[in-house]
Amino acid sequence: MGASVGIGGLIIGMTMLVVFSMVVASIDAKVDSSLQTIDSANEALPTFTIDDATLWEGAVVDVLIGGGGSGYTNGNLVSSTGNGGFTGTFTVDGSGAIIGVAITSHGNYSSAPTIVVQGQTPTSSATFVSSIGNFIHSNVTNTGSQITPLREIWIFSDGENPTNLGSIYSGGSNSPHWYSGETLHVQWAESGQLPVSRVAISVKGVSMASTLA
């Protein structure tokens, strides 16, 4: 009888130990899970620099096709007046008429430049009408370790006119992210009230500003 009581006591003790250990393990798991969840929500802040920011008040902001001409092949556009640095490309239809233009460098001019086709002899020459306006150019560098989607980056001029970087950036990359160490050349038309003196960039709660040159 004494032996059975001892065994019974042992069983009770073991059962209690198992119950305790299961509960402790369960609570530990809950606490670990909580900490992991909360930690995962706390991302490191992005760090970046505005390397330069310049306002060009005579940038070519639009090129309209006055007459498409004929006998062209897809090619490049340049300005025949001034040395502002405009470049563009164009596309043609089946007859060689220019049907579309794209600006690749807006340049900077004191008056609207004359735009011409570079290095082609057409059957009939095309004509273009350019207009100039305000453009802000800036180089920004991701100096941190964060990879940031461009759509989460906002640009401001004098604290107003928020522009989403994801909607304007087309700097030779199809990647919609800003990688660590990457410098982006950002340019956008400034249609707000002039003069604009400062530009600011906000990335995930971090904002930096720079005076425009």
């Binding site: 009581v5 909580s34 929500a41 906002w154 401001f156 604290g159 107003e160 928020p162």
Partner: protein, 164 residues
């Protein structure tokens, strides 16, 4: 000996019953504790995933003194993971709440204030008489949409300079 064996057996059964009852109570209590931890975790998680930040140029916060009441315009960015509920926005300027006169616009246009979007906030007050380059203390409190049964809250505080 038989009496001694019976009483020992009764003691054993009693011990089993008591220990079983205690185990049941403890398990129940620990279950409650575990549930409380889970509830607390979800609340903390909602708060951790709810974040709002000032966006733009703190040195150039728009202030229009040509209208009555004067209007201050600034931008808030959803920097958390949960969708924010702009209707819960509370704005405090120099310690005074201006909640009753807030106009908000989600940029770019959309129904939800997600982490991609900005909130343009226009607040006005007849008691303001700020001048250009005045510094004001700006605070905003906003809650997330209810997510998994919980609503997180975030606060933003910043000193800004007004641009009239």
């Amino acid at each position: 000996m038989a009496d001694g064996g019976a009483s020992t057996f009764i003691l054993l059964i009693t011990a089993l019953l008591v220990s079983g009852s205690v185990s049941a109570i403890l398990i129940n209590q620990w279950g409650d504790m575990s549930s409380a931890l889970e509830e607390n975790r979800k609340g903390k998680e909602a708060d951790a995933k709810t974040s709002v930040s000032f966006a733009g140029d703190a040195m150039e916060v728009g202030y229009d003194d040509s209208v009555n009441p004067n209007v201050m315009t600034f931008y808030l960015q959803n920097t958390g993971q949960y969708v924010l509920d702009e209707s819960t926005l509370v704005v405090i300027v120099d310690g005074i709440s201006v909640t009753s006169s807030i106009t908000t616009t989600i940029l770019p246009g959309g129904a939800d204030w997600t982490d991609v979007r900005l909130l343009e906030v226009e607040v006005s007050s007849t008691s303001w008489s700020y001048q250009n380059d005045d510094s004001v203390s700006l605070s905003a409190v906003v809650s997330s949409e209810v997510t998994a049964g919980y609503r997180g809250t975030s606060t933003m505080n910043i000193e800004v300079r007004l641009n009239v």
